[in-house]
């Protein structure tokens, strides 16, 4: 993280654009946790950029006072990469839904993660397409009934965002629950503080279109990762992601490691090339002299 300090309270990050989520939507808890995390980290309004795709959850940047980029469905991660690479001094946080990041945007995730792009990605996982009114999403439980799957989805398996991001090479992977804004705020803070690509999966129920995976359903599902869990061991993190105890979900940090980041590696390339912002353009032209 790269932003400079200020003395802002959580509420000072809130914009005056009307929040358009349904009353009771899990995303309120996320917004809350994010504001708190921003305040705790003393992020500045001017050097923070919140990027999102399309979906209920992707509206989040409008409700914050920082810079923001409400992009297209599925394109938040490459947009955010462009922002970060153009100005590595910015703190760039990506927000999105399970459909946005793992269905239409699923082709970008592996590459942004494996390149260890210096971003934080916060996903609001409601196991449904909220904005388009209730289709199954890639994280929906197999067999879920949605408007396009009246007989239940035919998919024998769902996307496991934790396992996916771990396999992709994310250097920080965590999970939280929007019903626990305090713990969540902590996790988001740690994710933002992490150098490299960090991913936080947040179970954030859609009370309007998902009548199965509700707050009540998840309320007692969350357990902390075992105290002896080795956060630096990828295979054991994968094991925890794939095999949680029956009916339970782990919250906390599954994996954390350090690897050179994309920004660092690009800097090294520019060093190799003897980068000079003010290099005379004539030297470029003269390469083509005969």
């Amino acid at each position: 993280m790269t932003a400079t300090a200020e003395t802002l309270k959580a509420k000072d990050y809130k914009s005056d654009i009307r929040v358009v989520w349904c009353p009771g939507c899990g995303d309120y808890g996320v917004l809350n946790a994010v504001q708190n995390a921003f305040a705790a980290l003393k992020l500045t309004i001017d050097n923070t950029v919140c990027v999102s795709g399309i979906g209920c959850s992707s509206r989040l940047p409008y409700f914050l006072k920082t810079y923001g980029f409400h992009s297209l469905h599925g394109r938040s991660l490459p947009v955010a990469s462009g922002v970060k690479l153009a100005n590595p001094n910015l703190e760039v946080v990506v927000f999105g839904g399970d459909g946005d990041l793992f269905s239409i945007g699923g082709g970008h995730f592996p590459h942004v993660a494996r390149k260890n792009t210096d971003l934080t990605c916060v996903m609001m996982d409601n196991h449904v397409y909220g904005l388009t009114k209730g289709q199954a999403s890639p994280t929906s439980t197999p067999g879920t009934v949605g408007t396009l799957t009246p007989f239940g989805t035919p998919d024998p398996a769902a996307v496991n965002p934790l396992a996916y991001s771990l396999t992709y090479g994310a250097t920080f992977v965590a999970q939280g629950f929007s019903g626990d804004p305090k713990g969540l705020s902590q996790t988001v803070q740690q994710a933002i503080s992490h150098k490299g690509f960090s991913f936080v999966n947040i179970i954030s129920p859609c009370l309007t279109f998902n009548k199965v995976d509700t707050f009540d359903f998840f309320k007692d599902s969350f357990i902390d990762l075992p105290a002896d869990h080795d956060k630096s061991n990828l295979v054991s993190a994968l094991d925890k992601a794939v095999n949680p105890p029956a009916g339970k979900l782990y919250s906390g940090i599954f994996f954390e490691t350090q690897r050179p980041t994309l920004v660092e590696n690009l800097k090294k390339i520019n060093q190799k090339a003897k980068a000079d912002k003010n290099r005379d353009i004539n030297t470029f032209i003269d390469e083509f002299k005969i």
């Binding site: 001017d46 409008y62 992009s71 947009v79 922002v83 153009a86 970008h108 003269d286 005969i290």
Partner: protein, 574 residues
Amino acid sequence: MSDLIIRIGGEGGEGIISAGDMVAEAACRSGLEVLTFKTFPAEIRGGYAMYQIRFSKDKILSEGTGFQVFCAFNQEALDKNKKELIPGTVLIYDFPGGDIEQEVKMDGVVTYPLPMSKIAKKDLDMYRAKNMVALGALSYMFDIAKEDLKELIRQKFGKKGQAVVDTNLKAIESGENYMKENYKKTDPYTMGLGNKTGKDVIIISGNEAAGLGAMIAGCNFLSAYPITPATEVANYMSSALPKRDGTLVQAEDEMASLAQVLGASYAGAKAMTSTSGPGLSLMQELLGYASMAELPCVIVDVQRGGPSTGLPTKHEQSDLFMAVHGGHGDASRIVLSAENVADAIDLAVDAFNLAEKYQIPVILLTDGSLGFRTESVARPDPKKYKIINRDRYKPNGSDKYLRYKLTENGISPMSQPGDPGGAYISTGLEHAESSAPSFTPEDHNRMLDKRFGKLKDVVDFYPAPEVQGEGQADVGVISWGSTLGTVREAVNMARKEGLKVKALHPKLVWPLQEKQILAFAATCKKILVPEVNKQGQFAEILRGKTGINPISYPIYGGLPFSPKQILEKIKEAM
């Protein structure tokens, strides 16, 4: 002789391209102007490859018509070019001992069999040197850059050691000697030295030119996905950008590349991507975003034969419809198209200037033959370019920043992350001046008027299209892109023949400079629009926007026009 076209044809991978590049560069050193033309097979290995070089003491406008000299490396090449081996042309071919098994006799064609394979294999013990044997023969026979060629070999291969230099020189000399010993020149073609004095020249390909122009314009970010025939734009930038502390990203696909460009532009970079038709198709949604969110960006589209995967290495100008009208909704954009290599430099600068000034996506159309061809061009003078940067938001402490503020000319000062008080949400939703989503009729009207109103300004701001020829004309030719050079040459030919012909050479193909087009059309009895695509795309757009009713002359065989083709059509139209 002030103008000579030599074509070399053979199997892809036989060193035809590298040999051609070398003679082009050497000729350029010897003071000649050069313009090359290459076709590749779409496969990696095998298939017919062709390299053609036009030499001249004067400025060259196009690939020209046919050739004077053809050098055949194999039977396939010979067969493909038989139709163009007309009386008066010269044929040098690999015989005996090569792929061509029979001696060639053609009425009126001067033939010089040259056992290049045999010489390379037997005398030099290096089959790969076949191309150099041919070069030596060509350079000797037509008196092209003989000394410069050897000097160039010494320089180029110097770092590979004296042995390599020697073999290549020996190959050149073997070709030379074979011709000297076996033939008495019976053809009239001989080039001689060009004018070296006072020339400040570079030799550069169209793809590199687009990159160099971007560097001149101050581009500091490029994200691209490889695609024929555009990859070389990014290739060039991949070594240039880091030297100026810029960033090059090889993206996972074309959507990622334009998305990164938009993110970078938002953050303040002068950002671009380069692609070809299939990539531009994939970028259509994001292109609409750039229009909606008013993000400056440049997209170079090096067109190839379409649709679909199509003819990846063939020449076509068939992405115009998409460039102008692609994508859903009413999305404003600017489309430029380059005539030649020098133009690719200038128009890349223009593209960035327009993108920055109008906060709009600008598509620069070139094409495969232009991208791959090299030309000798006057060394660009950096001082002649005016560089425009976006109008930046200046915090004034009191007013809330309105990103999409309605102004007289539709251009709203732009903040970038880091600017105090400048925070806003870049958005693809329709919005109010503040950037907050708004779907009222009023805002949609206002904002569409803003986004399209800018285009009205563009047509006045951008230099008027050049008119070639004066007075009243029987036929006025309007074309676009690399066809312009060919039209220029054809119109020169027509006027020399005393025909009343003019041409208009628009570089800004969208929005159209209607005033100038109509004024031009008013001086012509008929308007002819030659272009390389099936549908007559520019002709239809011209008719659709200006109401003038041109004769559409589309060709679509994967090759550019020859000046002769256009001249003939002009005569037919008269």
